[in-house]
């Protein structure tokens, strides 16, 4: 067998007291696609960052084409023909695709953007990309931006490509397109590593799959000889049931009615356009859509954090039966009106919690006003903190640990725990399981399900279509700030959702009618 393109031997990397990678050995061959599989925090990205020169290993060796390599900077990585496509794009918005691609390159000869564009078109044709080199980045969709990132590393002549969760931001159709391109690159002899935690994609695209768990190397399997259950077990370390128990909605009443909601951003662009829907008690309403289709604005409008220009949001109080208009109310006024609205925002540490405060003080965010007098009462929040740590199995040194020190899953447990403790009648969650490991994700799904059974109207903004289809009762699809459809989750398919998500994604031209 020929020498592998990459060989990692006993790579170890620690951050403070945390060992992110421990004695990891891994090989990648030319002309193959290797999936690097593991839960969040298992050390996948850290490992690949050492190949791309962002981190330097504490111990261990890296061999590229059989020769030992020292990669201290992204430039070194580029000299070894390694290119990484990061999860967060690093592009200049006001430049064109071609300009971004040559940015930072030191080529001999005269700079000629026409030559660059020609070369970009050649690369596109060769691998089947669909891109206009003179289009500006800010006019591009997420998948086009990703294409630019991939061409950027190919243009530099990379033979080894590392993609960090490339499908996280793509629709099912776009994912298929990307996979077709990856297969062509593989035929061309490139070595490709794709970091992911989506099992069906692993099975779909890769030749081999290597699994990491808690920073340790677990094993490598040929994709053809394995299945989802086996991979999950390797990833989590024990058997996990991947079923969400969806019960039939009971006693549905209209709880929150949104009518013709329209909202402009500071540039006068409609971020929400004539949104109408009803959230019902005892039901989980999913909201699907490409990132940035108006999900954030919609939830914040309901929570009283986002001003809107027209339309109405009406809450039907289950106790009094009266309808409460929430238009131009602040979050405090909404609370004073007796609306029990809980909100788990997307930005957990930036909005839902205060990273530098401990768990007790974070519990107090919702309740510190209680009681007369000018002083805080910390006893009730402290009890609540203790209970949440116990009930939701939050891993923490204690309740006086700043929440920013907790891992992503534990931060989310603290936040969801606090919001549920308010015994809400409406519970809104935005990307509630983003970055969470499988066990924590299922814990959150179960919590949402039990809230639903208690008669709470749950609104679940999600990104994983499989989860949306399994968990929700109805799914509202947002596309460029409009409702492109509300479907029954039991009858809908992923492809149908994908189509609705991109229904009017290009510009606002078809919003006019």
């Amino acid at each position: 067998m020929s020498t592998p393109a990459i060989e990692l031997k006993n790579i170890t990397k620690t951050f403070g007291s945390i060992t992110a990678n421990k004695n990891i050995c891994l090989t990648v061959n030319s002309g193959e696609i290797l999936s690097l599989l593991g839960e969040n925090g298992s050390g996948k990205t850290t490992l690949m960052n050492m190949l791309s020169g962002i981190y330097y290993p504490d111990a261990g060796q890296i061999f590229i084409d059989g020769k030992e390599a020292v990669i201290k900077s992204p430039k070194d990585a580029f000299d070894y023909k390694i290119g990484m496509i990061h999860q967060h794009f690093k592009l200049v918005d006001i430049f064109t695709a071609a300009e971004n691609i040559v940015l930072g390159l030191k080529e001999d000869g005269k700079y000629n953007i026409k030559d660059v564009e020609k070369k970009v078109s050649e690369i596109s044709a060769r691998y089947g990309f669909d891109i206009n080199p003179s289009k500006k980045i800010y006019e591009m969709s997420v998948s086009e931006k990703q294409t630019v990132e991939i061409i950027k590393v190919l243009y530099k002549g990379a033979d080894i490509l590392i993609l960090d969760e490339p499908t996280a931001v793509l629709t099912p159709q776009e994912t298929q397109k990307l996979f077709a391109v990856l297969r062509k690159m593989k035929e061309d002899g490139k070595a490709i590593v794709i970091i992911t935690h989506k099992l069906h994609e692993v099975l779909d695209i890769s030749d081999r799959v290597s699994v990491l768990r808690k920073g340790e190397y677990i094993g490598t399997l040929n994709t053809a000889e394995t299945n989802e259950a086996e991979l999950t077990e390797m990833m989590v370390g024990k058997k996990v049931s991947l079923d969400i128990n969806r019960t039939e909605p009971e006693n549905c009443e209209d709880r929150l009615t949104v009518q013709g909601l329209t909202c402009l951003n500071s540039d006068g662009v409609k971020v929400l356009d004539d949104i109408s829907f009803t959230a019902r008690s005892g039901e989980i309403l999913g909201i699907a859509g490409i990132a940035g289709s108006g999900q954030k604005e919609l939830l914040e409008a309901i929570a009283g954090l986002q001003k809107y220009d027209s339309g109405s949001i009406v809450y039907n109080d289950p106790k009094t039966g009266s309808a409460v208009n929430l238009k131009s109310k602040t979050p405090y006024q909404i609370k004073e009106l007796g609306v029990r609205l809980s909100f788990v925002p997307e930005d957990r540490l930036g909005m839902g919690l205060v990273g530098n405060m401990d768990i007790t003080d974070n519990m107090m965010l919702r309740s510190y006003r209680k009681g007369r007098g000018v002083f805080l009462k910390r006893s009730a929040p402290r009890e609540l903190a203790k209970n949440i740590v116990k009930d939701l199995e939050v891993v923490t040194p204690g309740i006086s640990t700043p929440v920013r020190r907790l891992s992503g899953g534990n931060v989310q447990k603290v936040l969801v725990g606090r919001e549920i403790s308010l015994s809400p009648t409406v519970l809104m969650t935005a990307y509630a399981v983003r970055g969470l490991d499988i066990n924590s994700s299922y814990l959150i799904y179960n919590l949402l399900n039990s809230q639903k059974q208690k008669g709470v109207a749950v609104i679940f903004v999600g990104e994983d279509l499989d989860v949306l289809l399994e968990l929700c009762d109805r799914i509202l699809v947002l596309s460029s700030g409009t409702v492109s459809g509300i479907v029954d989750a039991k009858a809908a398919t992923k492809e149908e959702l994908g189509r609705l998500m991109t229904k009017n994604s290009k510009g606002g031209a078809d919003n006019e009618q």
Partner: protein
């Protein structure tokens, strides 16, 4: 045989990693060591530049604060004023409102006191005069702090520039007042009401500055409780840490900004009153003497903890007074004293790096054979 890779590859020798947390006594050990190291470095500089005995120089520094009874009380008085202004800027800084205008707020507060002291000093009973001066100073400080706060809350103006510019306005107003009040045209105003002592804070137990010191001591305790245990203090922390979290839980951010700057300005005004009525009995452009800026350092060094500020303001005042003492005693240029002060503060601040981070040798991982 040496490894052939060592010639062509250059691995980084060290790397830096963040510490999780450190037990308190270790942190204080590091701080103590850094002070000792700074004194050693200072000693080298003293010997090489002045050929003096460093121990004698250090002895003189200590005498600057503790040498005589009078020096001790003067040191406590300086400490009280610096601490008072530090307490004033703390709530604003904790809210991440960069109030660089303490200097001006103190000065304007002091000016308000002086107006009453000068204009109606001999015409109303002293108790009423002093209370009126106190109220006027606090009001003046509030006005000077409130203007930039309102602009920030309503129109999002930059508070650093705004408060800095307010300093210059206050300075010019004081110059203007002195120009009117001092007929000789001198820019220095002598003691006001030196005969009647109208508007002067009285001595307490024979100590001139005791009222100042006790006032600030009480204020320190109040601010500690306010910031840590009151609802207002909690709101200040939340707004400072994350405005979107504050909005999310329904805090009216504008209201908190304005309320907190009223408090900050009021304490600055109080400092101005203590300076005019309790210390100087006159006014000049240098009333605050740069303490409005030094206070920012004192507050940061103490991590916004009022009790810790007693220590940090003591360090600063101690070094200032010690520097002055060695400059006169050894007939040295005051710049040398400033150099020593700078070195010591550099080490005190710099050692926080070693408390927050650790430096580790990179082990190459190639098990040596």
């Amino acid at each position: 045989m040496s490894s052939n890779s060592s010639g062509k590859t250059h691995e980084p020798l060290f790397h830096i990693a963040k510490r999780n947390s450190m037990v308190w006594w270790k942190a204080w050990l590091i701080r103590g060591i850094s002070v000792i190291v700074s004194l050693l470095v200072c000693a080298v500089i003293i010997v090489s530049l002045t050929h003096q005995n460093p121990l004698e120089v250090y002895g003189a520094m200590i005498k600057g604060s503790f040498g005589t009874n009078r020096k001790f009380w003067t040191m406590l008085q300086s400490l009280a004023i610096l601490l008072c202004i530090s307490l004033a800027v703390t709530p604003a800084f904790k809210m991440k409102f960069w109030n660089l205008g303490a200097e001006g707020q103190v000065l304007f507060g002091g000016l308000c006191s002086m107006v009453l002291m000068f204009m109606v000093g001999d015409r109303i009973p002293n108790v009423i005069l002093i209370l009126a001066m106190l109220a006027a100073s606090i009001l003046g400080g509030i006005i000077w702090g409130l203007i930039p706060a309102v602009f920030k809350a309503k129109w999002g103006t930059n508070e650093s520039l705004f408060t800095l510019m307010m300093n210059y306005i206050a300075i010019q107003l004081v110059s203007f007042a002195i120009m009117i009040w001092v007929p000789s045209g001198s820019s220095v105003m002598g003691l006001v009401n030196s005969g009647t002592k109208a508007g002067w804070l009285p001595d307490l137990f024979g100590q001139k500055y005791l009222i100042n010191i006790l006032t600030v001591a009480v204020l320190t305790a109040v601010m500690f409780v306010y910031l840590k245990y009151s609802k207002h203090g909690y709101e200040i922390s939340v707004v400072g840490e994350s405005e979107s979290t504050a909005r999310y839980i329904g805090i009216d951010v504008k209201k908190v900004i304005i309320r907190t700057m009223i408090l900050s300005g009021a304490i600055c005004g109080l400092s101005g009153f203590l300076l005019v009525s309790g210390t100087n009995h006159t006014i000049s452009k240098e009333l605050a003497g740069g303490n409005g800026f030094t206070a920012i350092m004192v507050s940061w060094l103490a991590k916004f903890n009022p009790v810790m500020m007693i220590l940090t303001s003591f360090i600063v005042v101690f070094l200032q007074r010690g520097a002055g003492e060695i400059a006169t005693k050894f007939n040295l240029n005051t710049s040398l004293a400033d150099i020593l002060t700078g070195i010591i503060i550099f080490f005190i601040i710099g050692c926080e790096f070693f408390i927050n981070y650790k430096i580790m040798r990179t082990n190459s991982g190639k098990e040596g054979k």
